[in-house]
């Protein structure tokens, strides 16, 4: 423990906290102060005591602990803190095209140069394939996606609200009686409150989904901004939880944060395996329980389709509803032929399109409870 041996303990701790923050642990000043207090109750010269004092006060989740262990080993061995932050992967988010005066090829012959489209143009845009948009059209579509309000299907909450009808509210009734000298002047009634179900979005970011991953993530952003309980994951060659990153108010900033966090853009897909990882780590613990789960993928499974089928069955048992949005479904003559899709479909409640703005708007209706036809 050479670092703590001769220099001021607090200085050492603050230096350690800085190393820790560089490693991605949220060691706020409040937490650092708690660590200093904690070490004062223990033996500052014992390595184990300092380790546990820091771990109890500076960490806040099991993910933090691995980072903490590395930083602790490095810092108290006297090493320079290695940059532990993951290297930024290839940037995929495209620069935002400023809605310029140039007109798109397909626009009809009116003179309005702004992309703030008229009703009929929006209508055409709504149904256009998201993979075939011009830069300015994409901008309009992005804005329209941001205005979608995907709300989970309602369920009855365990909390009550006041109501004119419904069962008696004993507490409020008696309270009112007390105010009136014990006379039951008025019977108060209550109803269960209604809350939206949690929305869980699993977005495929593999190569075959490339033009559609961005709109789906924007859809996820619209949902996550409006409902704090929404969970968002990406799958490609690995599973990434992007719920934190996607919460940024600005869609483009949120999307670049997501890009930074996802290391496997445009790779292959191992849907079954990753779905299993999702269910083991998050889904079964509670994230998927009673939730509306949307899988946005083309169903191109590189791995074993049987595994995908099993995991979809598991997901279906946990979730309230499973919705699969497939961008290829909307194309004329589409048949679910890929092995992955065939294995997954028996365990899907709603199989919907995902290739256009209209399809995304429809998806928002489906997650909020409107039934769609099963393929």
């Amino acid at each position: 423990m050479s670092a703590a041996g001769d220099s001021d303990v607090t200085v050492t701790m603050v230096g350690f906290a800085r190393t820790l923050r560089a490693a991605g642990v949220d060691a706020s000043p409040e937490r650092v102060q708690a660590m200093v207090t904690a070490t004062s109750h223990l033996d500052v010269c014992r390595r184990a005591d300092v380790y546990w004092a820091g771990r109890c006060t500076l960490c806040g989740s099991p993910d933090d602990i691995a980072r903490y262990d590395r930083a602790f080993a490095a810092y108290f061995a006297g090493d320079v803190a290695p940059p532990l932050r993951r290297q930024t992967p290839v940037q995929v988010v495209r620069p935002i095209a400023v809605p310029g005066p140039q007109r798109s090829r397909r626009r009809r012959s009116d003179d309005d140069p702004t992309p703030a489209a008229t009703a009929s143009e929006t209508e055409i845009l709504r149904h256009r394939d998201l993979a075939r948009l011009t830069a300015s059209e994409r901008e309009v579509v992005r804005r329209l996606i941001a205005s979608i309000d995907p709300l989970g299907e309602p369920r009855l909450s365990r909390r009550y609200r006041r109501s004119h009808h419904g069962p008696l509210d004993p507490r409020r009734t008696v309270r009112a009686m007390l105010r009136r000298g014990g006379e039951p002047v008025r019977l108060e009634r209550r109803r269960r409150r209604v809350r939206p179900r949690r929305l869980v979005l699993i977005v495929d970011v593999s190569g075959s989904m490339q033009p559609y991953a961005d709109p789906f993530l924007r859809f996820a952003h619209a949902a996550a901004r409006r409902r704090p309980g929404t969970e968002v994951f990406t799958v490609g060659t690995r599973l990434t939880r992007v719920t934190r990153e996607i919460r940024d108010r600005d869609p483009s900033a949120a999307l670049s944060a997501v890009t930074g966090a996802v290391a496997d853009w445009s790779g292959g897909t191992r849907l079954g395996e990753l779905l299993k990882a999702f269910l083991d780590r998050w889904g079964q613990r509670g994230v998927a329980r009673g939730a509306v789960v949307v899988v946005a993928s083309d169903g191109w499974e590189r791995g074993d389709a049987t595994l995908l089928g099993d995991q979809m069955a598991r997901l279906h048992r946990l979730a309230h509803r499973v919705v699969w949005a497939n961008p290829h479904r909307g194309q004329p003559g589409y048949e679910p032929m890929t092995a992955g899709m065939v294995a997954a479909l028996p365990h899907v409640d709603d199989f919907v399109d995902g290739h256009s703005l209209a399809a995304l708007q429809r998806l928002a209706q489906v997650v909020s409870g409107a039934r769609s036809t099963h393929a």
Binding site: A34, A48, W52, A53, S61, V174, G181, Q284, R289
Partner: protein
């Protein structure tokens, strides 16, 4: 009566006497919770002994354990306090019957401390010393987290009709979570955080032996070995220590004293005490003998 705990090592000893085997990390976290008067936030898989820790701490401190089980919709009337309306009404009627005409006095009387029913959080503040267990806080909703935060940050509860109730000595608080959802950072920041791992082989054997003195060493060790391998096997629901104990108990009831070849039928028959998914049982059932002998 309350022994003074002066070091984590001593706490290990004291917990051991109460039948709880804590490792150094957990003992240090619990020791800090006692000496810093901060709530201890325990996370970990189901069955690693989060709830049992609170019970053991209560016995070490010779303090009552006050438990609040969380669930969705838990509200202030169930967690903090509630007015005893029937008694208040009776008091009102009794006052009228006795001919007390002073309405103001009657009203002041019905909002007295004796008509307040203390729920777990208020009970814990009013009982010194006490150990408060807020169990499975991840099952509660955001609304509950908000007022739990208020209580845990300054250990006061304000009752509008009565005033603020302050804890003389804050209770020892253990908050547990199974991580079914992410608990708000603000709550975690006010707590000491500890992630509980499954115990190692020797500790698990000791726990089983302590809880079930009738179990032989051979049986306890075989079960612990199977449990250890099973946790690394990617099962749908890995067994916790609680399941190991249940299974050992089931095996004992069936008359098995080890997991040798002649007891494998019994092991298979009682596997439901250990693994709670059919898929998991199918994967494990043929390999019990192999795992029980694994180094």
């Amino acid at each position: 009566m309350t022994p003074d705990v002066t070091s984590p090592q001593q706490l290990v000893q004291l917990l051991d006497e109460q039948g709880y085997f804590a490792d150094e990390g957990l003992a240090t976290a619990a020791y800090l919770a006692l000496s810093m008067r901060r709530p201890l936030f325990c996370e970990g898989d189901a069955g690693v002994g989060k709830t049992a820790l609170a019970g053991a701490l209560a016995r070490v401190l010779d303090a009552p354990l006050i438990r609040l089980q969380c669930y969705e919709g838990l509200d202030a009337a169930q967690a903090l306090y509630d007015w005893d309306f029937p008694r208040q009404l009776l008091h009102l009627r009794a006052g009228e019957a006795a001919g007390i005409a002073d309405a103001d006095r009657l009203e002041a009387e019905i909002y007295d401390r004796r008509f307040l029913v203390a729920r777990p959080l208020l009970q814990a503040l009013e009982t010194t010393p006490s150990v408060l267990l807020v169990d499975e806080v991840d099952r509660a909703d955001d609304e509950f987290e908000a007022f739990l935060l208020e209580v845990l940050s300054d250990f006061t509860i304000s009752v509008p009709e009565l005033g603020t109730i302050h804890a003389e000595t804050p209770p020892v608080v253990v908050v547990t979570s199974n991580r079914t959802r992410e608990v708000h950072d603000a709550l975690k920041r006010r707590c000491l955080y500890h992630w509980l791992e499954h115990p190692d082989l020797a500790r698990e054997v000791a726990i089983i032996r302590r809880r079930l003195p009738a179990a032989t060493d051979a049986l306890a060790e075989a079960v612990a070995r199977v449990a250890r391998v099973a946790r690394g096997e990617d099962l749908l629901k890995p067994p916790g220590v609680a399941e190991s104990i249940d299974w050992t108990e089931a095996l004992l009831a069936l008359g098995a004293h080890d997991l040798g070849a002649d007891n494998l039928d019994r092991a298979a028959a009682s596997l439901g005490a250990f693994l709670k998914y059919r898929e998991d049982q199918e994967r494990v059932v043929d390999r019990i003998a192999e795992w029980a002998a694994a180094g």
